[in-house]
Symmetry: C2
Subunit: 462 residues, 2 copies
């Protein structure tokens, strides 16, 4: 066991306050209004990496938001761990549903977090989990226990598709050379059920636009005689799922692997209460693809969800109008083997093909990424497993996540190394939702577990 | 012929400028932000009626916006004409599509309006057409040619369902007693094709709300496993029309009268160019209920149109979220005999019944009104026909309009008198749309034609 407790006790308040200060900055990468805040956040990350003991830290400009790179090399013969994280956050809206302002962090106790949780946008995804690595680094360097070389690559565009990160990675393969990539941007099953994410879904995100008449029309004078872009959009979107909630885009499932019954029954062993699941999000029934369980639907099966829709009069009261245009943002979660660019193209071709006469349809790809699966017999996985065992007293459960970290498969492709996803958040932490939070206990548990991963990975690499 | 030209020539500029001043006030009844402007407009109408020669004018307060009532009785034995109009306007959005600010009226020449048209919200619907009656009244009183008694009832809630007007009418049957009701709130077929609207569609306007999870969810972690309120809403709305674009709400067509082939071929005689129609609104093809022509689809057939839809993330960029709620504003245009309250109830029952498990659906009725048909053998129709003949040199064509003026059937029911709809606007005037306008020629043509209706109606009533 590393001499952790004494150091953490001494600096606990500072570790918390530093994260709270970081959360006060609205680094929303999706909204141009926050541009300056995102750049400002990159500078703060740079300083924090220097303070944590990196020998060299630099802000790498991109065509979008910068990537903060830091490193400390103690011995060329020792393994190198590359830590990835992101300092940008999701938009906070609907802002009115937050119990406290999203950028004014507060610590409140909850049923699941009796020791308190930090409520703020980005608390868990990913500022809180990313900063655990910075503080773990500080601990190891301050106490002379850093067992290997380390590199940090913290980006500011994860929530908008990491477009420029991929360019950066492709252009800096030597600089980013490593033996394993470590990321905390996922969750674990429960406070007492540590888990390692072994699979991620890919993503294809598009925006669609249906245009009918060249101007908004009076719904009385024209109603019934012209294609109403909103009605048409609803028809087109509805047709994307059949009666079994299978996605009806031709070729969509071609590369989807069907898991063996053995694998499925293995998955089914993960602790899960449908009742608790429904209660936690306030629904009376789950819904999804026929023939699959809830845990399968949100992990090993691809999906198509409308993330936003708008058109016509959405103000107070009533307006009898036929809108000229209607819009929707649609994302598809993909499973390993589904090529996201190919799926985006399939969607575009299909969606445009089902547009009836009387309207024109435009599909604009936003971004996307590949799915990923990691083996559970690698040194990295074993090191993580031992680390969790030391701090949680039990072995972690391997689990497939429904989320996407588009660049993980890019890392494997470009840097030829595996990624270990050590997540310390919970599904109930409401990432991407109002009242996002991150348990104080989880924050420190992460800071405590990470150095052990370094220790075991270095030992197992010998 | 009345001595019109000399008077109009003398006051032409003032007649235009008074309307322009009226159009500068954003009397949007649907949006609380404009509350004061609506009240202010009522006061202006009051003054204009006094100046036009009414003996008695009053502002009748309601639970909403006031009704301006004015009257001039010259002889109890002469007939009384009740003029109805409204001083409220539709919201101006989408504001960015206006070539000039909606409340800064400008006169511009167009292909159809070589003598210029006034561009402003409400120019045609209904401030411009309503004000023609005020100026016609002024002309008749100033030149001592008012042949009968007149009453004005100008309301401020037509665009939001005239809820308080119906209360007012029911409570003031004696005060509003009349021999015919005259309204200019419809259009005519073309500049050289005068027409009288003999039918109006009814309306049922509802707002629907689909609620799924109790908060927005991460579309990766939950996507595919829970009912997405937006996907569900699109499915539900899409199901409201079948493959022939018939409305699929059980019982919806029960009271819809099928016109005889004779009536349909009579309708088909109205001058109509499908090509010109498509060009005028920039579509490559019309769309609608199978088995009916464009003119039938937007007049004698009921419709269901989504007027607005919204849910999820509609800001810049991408947000991978499953929204907790999705909303839509839906209106149905009804034909005579369809009871609007009954149809609203049918919709509510059906829409709630098709909600799948996993979501809850709420349907909130906004407002509505009955359809209306007026005979073409009445004294009122004949008087209007003769008036048009004098000013246009040809008899007007009777036409059914797809629009709704909910209170017209209420008038018949409560005041036991028929309504004559003398419209001077054109479909291309873009009412309810950006760049609404009203031809200067049409404005004065209306002021010129209205007194002739008074003359002939009085003569025919003897």
């Amino acid at each position: 066991m590393l001499h952790f407790q004494s150091y953490i006790e001494e600096h606990k308040d500072r570790f918390l306050n530093e994260l709270i200060d970081l959360l006060k900055i609205p680094s929303v990468s999706a909204d141009p209004a926050y541009k300056d805040n995102v750049f400002q956040t990159a500078d703060i990350i740079k300083d924090s990496l220097l303070k944590a003991g990196c020998d060299h830290v630099e802000i790498c400009e991109t065509q979008g938001f910068p990537i903060v790179y830091g490193e400390k090399t103690i011995d060329k013969n020792l393994p190198t761990i590359l830590v990835y994280g992101h300092y940008d956050v999701q938009p906070a809206d609907p802002i009115e549903l937050w119990d406290s302002p999203p950028y004014e962090p507060v610590i409140k106790k909850t049923a699941i977090h009796p020791e308190g949780a930090i409520f703020a946008r980005g608390a868990c995804d990913d500022k809180g989990q990313m900063y655990m690595h910075v503080k773990a680094m500080e601990f190891m360097t301050e106490t002379n226990q850093l067992p290997c070389n380390v590199k940090f690559m913290i980006e500011g565009e994860e929530e908008v598709g990491s477009v420029n990160l991929s360019t950066f990675v492709k252009a800096n393969q030597e600089k980013l050379k490593n033996d394993v990539i470590l990321i905390s941007d996922t969750g674990m099953i429960a406070q007492d059920v540590p888990s390692i994410t072994t699979g991620l879904r890919g993503l294809s995100y598009v925006e669609v636009e249906v245009t009918g008449p060249n101007r908004d029309l009076h719904s009385g004078l024209y109603g019934g005689a012209v294609a109403n872009p909103i009605n048409i959009l609803t028809k087109m979107i509805a047709s994307l799922h059949d009666e079994n909630n299978h996605i009806s885009i031709p070729g969509f499932y071609d590369k989807v692997e069907d898991l063996s019954d053995a694998e499925r029954s293995e998955m089914a062993k993960a602790p899960f209460s449908l009742d608790a699941y429904e209660k936690s999000i306030g629904i009376d029934s789950v819904y999804g693809e026929k023939g699959y369980s809830t845990n399968e639907r949100n992990s090993i099966r691809p999906t198509l969800d409308v993330n936003g829709i708008w058109g016509g009069y959405i103000g107070e009261g009533a307006k009898t109008v036929i809108a000229s245009q209607a819009f929707a943002k649609i994302s598809m979660r993909l499973v390993p083997n589904q090529e996201w660019e190919a799926i985006t193209e399939l969607f575009k071709t299909h969606f445009e093909s089902i547009a009836p006469a009387g309207v024109t349809v435009k599909v604009t790809p936003h971004h996307g990424g590949q799915g990923y699966v990691t083996p559970i017999d690698s040194i990295g996985y074993e090191a993580a497993s031992k680390a969790y065992y030391d701090t949680f007293g039990k072995k972690p459960i391997p689990q497939r996540s429904g989320g996407s970290i588009p660049i993980v498969s890019l890392f494997e492709q470009e840097l030829k190394s595996k990624t270990i996803l050590m997540g310390f958040g919970l599904d109930s932490d409401a990432i991407h939702s109002p009242n996002e939070h991150f348990g104080v206990w989880n924050y420190f548990k992460g800071i405590e577990t990470i150095p052990l991963f370094y220790k075991y990975f270095t030992e197992l690499s010998k």
